[in-house]
Each structure stands twice: as C-alpha cells, then as structure tokens.
C-alpha cells in the first residue's frame, strides 16, 4: 500500500476547475516530484493533499485512510506537513519562535530538544540567528527556516512547494542536498518544482502536470530523457 494515494481529484476555486482528475501515489521513503509550468496546478495539488483545500470529487488517502476532507491542522498531527509556496515564514516572529510554531503539534516533548539540535545541525546559520526577527532573514535563510520549521513537526510525509524559488543557483544546490539528507533520515517527500533539472536529479519518480492534468509519469531517469520534458522543462532541444 502506498503511503499517499491521490485518486482522480478535482479541485475548484469557485468556478475555476483547477485540477481535472489528478491521480498519483507516493511510496514510503520515496522522493516524488511534480513538475510543470506556471498555473499547471502544482500548488493546488499540494494544497488539496495538505487539507487547505478539499477536492470536489476524488479521494486523498494517507496510509490507507481517506483524508479528503480532513482539515490541514489535523493532518499535521497525522504526519503530513507542508512547506508552502513562498515559504510562509512568520515574519514578525523570531527564528526560534518560528521553529516553536513548527513544533506546535508535537506531543512527545522529550524528543523536542533532539530535533532542535538536528535542525541546527542541518542549518547552522539558523542557530546564529535564532533571536533575529524572521522577516529580516535573507531569501536563502528563509527557505532554511521554512524547511527547519516543517521538520520540527517531525513529519512522515513532507510536501514542499518550489523550495528553489528565488534562490541563487548555488543555494538551490544546497537546498536539494538538504532535501536528500532529510529523505535519508526517513522522511518521505513530495516535491513540487518548476526547476525540473534539479528536481529530477534528486527524485526517484516524477509526474508532469499541465493545465490541471497529469500528462506524463515515470521514474526520474526516464523523465530526464523524455523528449517532451527535455523541450518543455529542461530547456534542451
């Protein structure tokens, strides 16, 4: 049984039919990526899985249970956490308060200190800045904070929406190194990206999304070789 199973979901914004029957699966310990251009519906898919939106038709199943209409704040307790598009840093809170917010759902307070240590080890920069107001962090540091904050919830499934957005290439590489590390430590990841090159370099499998529909799915290596993907998303002819 797949950890996450999305069956033919249709999501609407009012009358706008944003997702027209998306199906995908994520197995435990995988990194799966969802690539596609602007407005393809990547964010909408993640928001539907995370419970911020609910699908009008279709089903989202997590570890076998239907979570289609479970609100986001309850899913966090079940092990699904999302790093939202644009990072969603609480800019008026300090870095450490942001991390505390990430740990809001934690009931096992005993292991909390280990997790602080772990994220500070992953992102030493955050440790130096923990008293600083988060709004004053650089873009790269904010991405680190958003990721660290999500890890504080100790998720089993981590949804990430365009972590490379707005970052310099060198930082993008860093971010993806971290993603690999997080995955190795035992967190399953569903990664949304416009930057298909890096996304496919870390992912096991991928889905290609176009105007609300999945047009292609395969393992990452095959996708990298695919004619259409190369043209449309990797910028190679």
């Amino acid at each position: 049984m797949a950890m996450l199973e999305v069956n033919d979901i249709h999501t609407f914004y009012g009358n706008i039919h944003a997702l027209k029957g998306i199906s995908l699966t994520v197995e435990e310990n995988e990194i799966v990526t969802l690539i596609g251009g602007n407005g393809a519906g990547k964010t909408t898919t993640l928001r539907t899985i995370s419970g911020l939106l609910s699908p009008r038709h279709g089903q989202v199943k997590f570890e076998g249970e239907d979570i289609s209409s479970t609100p986001a704040h309850e899913l966090v307790y079940r092990g699904i956490t999302m790093v939202p598009e644009g990072r969603g840093i609480f800019s008026r809170l300090s870095v450490s308060e942001n991390l505390d917010m990430g740990a809001y759902s934690r009931e096992d307070k005993s292991k909390l200190q280990d997790d602080y240590d772990r994220v500070f080890q992953l992102f030493p920069r955050l440790k130096e800045r923990r008293k600083q107001v988060a709004g004053t962090l650089s873009g790269g540091e904010q991405q680190m904070l958003a990721t660290a904050r999500a890890l504080m919830a100790s998720p089993r499934l981590l949804l990430m929406d365009e972590p490379s957005m707005g970052l310099a290439p060198i930082l993008v590489e860093n971010v993806f190194e971290t993603i690999k590390q997080i995955n190795k430590d035992g967190t399953t990841i569903l990664l949304v990206e416009q930057n298909a090159t890096v996304a496919l370099s870390v992912a096991d499998r991928g889905y290609v999304l176009q105007t609300g529909e999945i047009v292609l799915k395969d393992n990452a290596d095959n996708l990298k070789k695919d004619e259409m993907v190369r043209k449309a998303y990797l910028g190679i002819d």
Binding site: H73, R92, M101, R149
Partner: protein
Amino acid sequence: MSESNAEKTVKPLDTFRIVQAIIAVLFVIFLSWRLYSVISAGIYGPDTWLRFTISGLIIGSVYSVIAIGYTLVYGILFMINFAHGEIMMLGAFAGYFVLEGLNGLVVDQAAGVSFLDQYQILSVILAFVVGMVMAAIVGYYLEKIAYRPLRGAPRLIPLISAIGASIFLQNAAQLIFGPKRRTYQNPSALTRSVGWRIPISGEEVILTYTGALTFVLSILLLVGLYVLVQRTRFGRAMRAVAEDKQTAALMGINVDSVISTTFVISGALGGAAGVMWGIQNGIIYHYIGFIPGLKAFTAAVLGGIGNIPGAMLGGIFLGIVESLGPAALGIDFQLKDVIAFSILVLVLIFRPSGILSEVLTEEKV
C-alpha cells in the same frame, strides 16, 4: 523595483508632510498659548491639576482594557468589532446582578449583615469573575453567529454585521433590563468618592478606593494579557494566526478555535472593564457601552489598531488628554468628548496607522 517606486512617491509625499508639519506647529502654538493663558490666569491650583491627572489615569486605564479588546480582534481578523462596547455593558450588568444578589443574601440574621459586607473581597472577585465569564460567552457567540459566517467576505460586510450586532445587543439589553438607570451596589469598603487623602498646597485631593482598584486591576489585566500573548504557546499561536492563517493551519493550529478564544479573551476583558465601570461610576444602563466603546476604539486607533502595547498607551493617553484637556484649553468640561473624538478624526486623517506604529515596527524589525 521598490526603490523606483519610492523615488516616484517622494515628491507628493513631501508636500503633504510639509502641510502636516505646518498644521502641527500651528496647533502646538495654539495649545501652548491656551495653556499659558489658563495657567497664568491661575484658575486652577496644583490640587486641581492633580485631581484631573488622577481621574485621567483611572478612566484611561479602563479605556486601555477595552481598547485591547478591539485591538486583539482586529489583529487577528482585520475587522472592528463594534459590538465590543455592548459586551462591556453586558459584563457590567452581570457584575451588577452578582453584587445585588450578594447584598440581598443575609449571612448574619441577628445583625442583618449581608454577604456583600461580610465577605467584601470575595464579593468583588465574584462580581468580576461572573462579569468576565458572561461577557466572554457573549463574545464567543457573537463571533460564531455574527462574524464566522462572513469570514472571507469583503471587509465591509462583517463591519456592517458588527454595527448590527451592537444595535441588537443594546436593544436586547433595554428590553431585558429596562431603560432605567441602576446604581451599582458596592461593598462598604468601596464606597464611592471615599479614599486616601493626599494633601497638596493646602488642599486635599482624594484618591478613591474604587479608582485605585480600577487602575491596579487594569494594569494587572494588561500585564497578564501581554504575558499571555508574548510568552505562552497560545499567544504564539495567536500571533501566527494574525500573521498568516493558512500557514498557521499548516503548523497544526486550529485557526477557528484560536479565533474563538481570541473573542473569549477580548470579551472577558470587556466584561472586566464593565464591572470596573460600574464600581467606579456607580450608574449603569443599556447605553453605557456605547461612548466608552467609541473612546476605546479611538485609543486603539491612536496606538495603531492591532498593536497591543499601542492600545494600552493609547487608552491611558486618551484618558489623560480628555481629563486635562478642557482645563488646559480653558474650555467647558462638557467638551471632553469632543476632544476625544477630535483626536480620532485627526489621527485617522494624518496618521491612520497610529502614532506608535512606526516606532514599534522599526524597533521590532
């Protein structure tokens, strides 16, 4: 991009700033002249000024407590809960009935001593607790019934609903309690206009016990609230919800319940203010929430609506200004409300984000 924007807007902003500055300077000159003529005429002795200051601090502290109620809700929902003054009024009534009831409860048959006079501290505590709980319940249902269904609607809509709720609660109170003015039954230790006598330049200024209670309790509530917001897990959740509801939900925060709780806290503060109002001023009826509500709203705007320390300082400031203002300007005391609302208009015109907002955001960032 933001830089080029800034360049473009510098010019018109400058002329506006100059006009503002000129008006401000003229205003200050006018105020100083009035103040000078009042003081040089020696109409009021130091005892009178002290009296005004004390009463300003007391009423100001009540405004602060009410203002926090506006600011908490605004900070989280970006709406002005115009029914907040009515919540305060209902809290005042709840406290009133507690004190009435305890006064009627005779504990010592022989001497005819009531519970109210036998256990004075306990009675006052009970009045506050019941007043706060009742007001909190009203706040909770107010949000559920009048505001929650409108969440996501354009901002004007909940505002209209708030005004409707305010009128509704006022009329409901009139219907239930009748239009008559009722006298708050204070325990004997809190007899109104009795207090410590402070000798000053041959005169005596009375610091009433009710006033001292009001002031001290207000400060305690403000400090308590500040600690709640800044230091507790719930306070952090509240600040997170205020900043970004969706991301807050992604942290596992139940946004609806945080909003409900905010209304409960805001209502409880309103209720406490209502009981203080009753104990301090003595007379309550269905309309008492309206003017203090508007004044506290002014105080909240003055401090930058949504800003908690701002609302505290705004309340105290407004209390002092309206208390000292008529004397300082040498105008009729009836005009103190005019002063308060002139301040509201001036702030809304010249500094809609509040006097404190810039200082505080700069300090925070």
